[in-house]
Symmetry: C2
């Protein structure tokens, strides 16, 4: 009988296990896949590992920064020296410098800045623990981000820019997500600027060894190896224990920490019903839609042309790109994202069709050299059975106000981790925060039950 | 008798000499100081040379980029990952991310963007060869930048931001400079954004070995060593030659290329008067006012705090700072600038007073660690006798429309180089451009005179 069974060996699950082991508890970690890391995944290119999953750390993300230091990993800044590109239809605009804003009219700028101020004023009024209980929560959760923009953003250009930012940070379309969720997403990231930006923002820092190494190092430091290739099928809650059933074995523990996305947690068979709120919550938290591409080249030719590698495009294949070159410069690469509708569209095509379309679009943005890569890798997170999509859950209208309280509420002996349950920073930092919280909860209950047991024995 | 005597061994003079030597001409270079480099100056810190003079290369600055490659020097991006600081009075604001704009009202933003669009529309109407002959040149040269802002910028915040940008890029006050000059200055740099920015802007790239190395390598490659410590006192134009007089010797050449700032060229005694226009031009091109500080620390502690090292302050000591850490990270440093009025104010104080004030301001911006440097260096360019100030000449109203044509007009056998005479990019790139042009002019005249001599002999 273990003190805790952890379901899922992504960042949040491994942090839960790590923190419990630190406090002297016995832990088993069960993982469906044949690898750890969950929504982080690093691919080896000529000996350097580049990230084709979650990859960035922001300046105020203390949890992941501390963990990276503890694990002895190195960090380096996301490259962004140089001009950026914005492709709209057949036109491509190049911009950079002190404002680094694409050339739109001052009226569109005013419009964007008024909208930004409204967003920042709105998020300042959110309850940081229970945003769904904030004064305006019902009104904000009743509409989509698209509906809010239709009311609050007048110019086409400002709507275009704001929609692009939303797609980039959520991996979802403005007409899919609750406005309350978007507002709370920005609150969790500080501001619109910090959420979406590189310098001073959430995309500022990369990990030299690749983000998946964080999970690998945590896993290898556990006294009991992670059980790979064992999807959890059922969880049976008993009076003072819980049984976690996989195809291979049944594991007994005092508590369970489930650290997979809510939509995947819904597929487990629970012997004791979790309750209507939790069940509906899991049914109503669809995941974002991402395909991530890593494209290696002989040289970072865009840098020589004065380009940073950042581009945004409305042309329907890839929505944005960034420089993905390794920290030592030895592997030159771009990373590109298909997001939201276009992510789902291209997920249905063949790998060959995607490669052709992505290289054509990169050539449109960066010139003919971009059509001749050394190597092309993709990760279709949209179709990934063990994440259900990326980056995170993207609730539509109504879900949070109705079921938000169920996000972190324990269900008997089941505790919940995962970046969806974080108070701040959806993403890797939130995953670490949530794992620490779940471990703290389980530790507290173990302490109570032990003192109780001791009393009974005495 | 040399083919050309070059006066001044800054970047423009050495490029003039280098290009003439390449074409097979005999050249003597005379330099007042005991070093080459002019307004570039690199100081050794633990074996790395950091720049306390001109130091940056922008993405479209082809002339200096090509020269740097020819000389086998390395480049690296100006560090700017992290948040920026803006100090106004006692308040310090931290900002960063996708917009990276300090928190001002949307109305100030609109105001700034309308002003920016007006500036960009204005500069698009400038004649790139003779801006003073553009349709609106007289009206624009009749007012200062301050006067233009009073008419065109409504909000205090937008005036503050635009004034700060102007001070930072000109090293002069908005009420000192001609609006035509400011507009042309932006035109030479592309846009306001490109002129003032880091990523995609003119402050994007640094030289690993320090910018002064550019001049040192050019000097050491010349067949005749640069004559150091020989200020030119007089230039006597003869019928088919010219004599250049220093305290030590008189040098005879067919032509002279003067590559010192116009205000310094005015101090030379010319046997043949240069003409009223040239004389007045030299009298009316005052130099900008800069004190540059390099402050070394044990560690780049601001980076650990999520700060880029960029700060702007209206508190009257230093107007801006940036990270100045060496490319290998071995020397952690900040660079700070006193500019315009405050540059002149602090130039009158003692070095100790300046050091105390600058460290107090750095501590105000970056915290108490900033008050404890390992080493503190300053260069009071304001008082520098052999540049007369930095970065460049900053004409007041009236000068360019009256005497602009005299900037590059040859005076008998005298040709003019120096960044003030460049068509694009005032600064190091303009210096290289102007040196190439001056060399081309002298080469063409040498070719004509030689063919003439050959004919006469035949």
């Amino acid at each position: 009988m273990k003190d805790c069974i952890v379901v899922g060996a992504g960042v949040s699950g491994l942090v839960t296990a790590r923190e419990l082991v630190r406090r002297g508890h016995a832990v088993t970690v069960l993982e469906a896949q044949d690898r750890v890391g969950g929504r982080t995944l690093s691919v080896s290119f000529d000996g350097r590992r580049l990230d084709i999953g979650g990859q960035w750390i922001g300046p105020r993300q203390k949890h992941i920064a501390e963990l990276v230091r503890e694990l002895g990993l190195g960090t380096f800044p996301q490259h962004h020296a140089g001009s950026k590109l914005l492709a709209r239809g057949e036109d491509t605009f190049r911009y950079g410098g002190v404002f680094a804003l694409p050339r739109v009219s001052p009226w569109a700028m005013l419009d964007l800045f008024v909208a930004r101020r409204r967003l920042h004023r709105g998020l300042a009024r959110l309850d940081p623990r229970r945003p769904w209980a904030s004064p305006d929560a019902r009104a904000w959760d009743a509409i989509t981000l698209e509906a809010w923009m239709n009311e609050n953003v007048r110019t086409k250009d400002a709507r275009f820019l704001l929609s692009n930012i939303a797609r980039a940070v959520l991996a979802a379309e403005p007409d899919e997500v609750s406005f309350l969720f978007f507002l709370d997403f920005l609150r969790r990231g500080g501001t619109l600027d910090e959420t979406a930006g590189i310098a001073g923002g959430a995309q500022e820092t990369r990990i030299i060894e690749g983000m998946q190494t964080v999970s690998e190092r945590m896993a290898s430091a556990l006294p009991e190896p992670v059980h790979l290739g064992e999807p959890v099928r059922a969880i049976r809650q008993r009076d003072r224990a819980v049984e976690v059933v996989t195809d291979r074995e049944t594991y007994a523990g005092r508590f369970v920490a489930i650290s997979v996305p809510p939509a995947l947690a819904a597929r487990i068979d629970y012997s004791v019903p979790l309750g209507r709120e939790r069940q509906r919550l899991m049914d109503q938290l669809p995941m974002g839609s991402v395909i991530k591409f890593l494209v290696q080249y002989e040289t970072p030719f865009w840098r020589q042309a004065g380009l940073s590698g950042e581009a945004a495009s409305d042309r329907g294949t890839i929505l944005m790109t960034m420089d993905a070159t390794s920290s030592d410069g030895g592997v030159a690469a771009l990373v590109a994202f298909s997001l939201g509708t276009s992510g789902r569209h291209w997920a249905k095509r063949t790998a060959d069709e995607r490669k052709r379309a992505v290289l054509a679009e990169l050539a449109h943005l960066f010139g003919p050299k971009a059509a001749r890569p050394v190597r092309f890798e993709e990760k279709v997170w949209v179709d990934d059975p063990w994440s259900g999509g990326c980056y995170c859950a993207v609730p539509g209208p109504g879900a949070l106000t109705a079921f938000g309280d169920a996000l972190r509420a324990t269900c008997g002996r089941i505790h919940w981790a995962g970046c969806e349950t974080a108070f701040q920073w959806p993403g890797v930092d939130g995953a670490v925060e949530s794992g620490k919280r779940a471990a703290q909860e389980v530790h507290a209950r173990l302490a109570i039950e032990r003192s109780h047991t001791t009393e009974v024995r005495a």
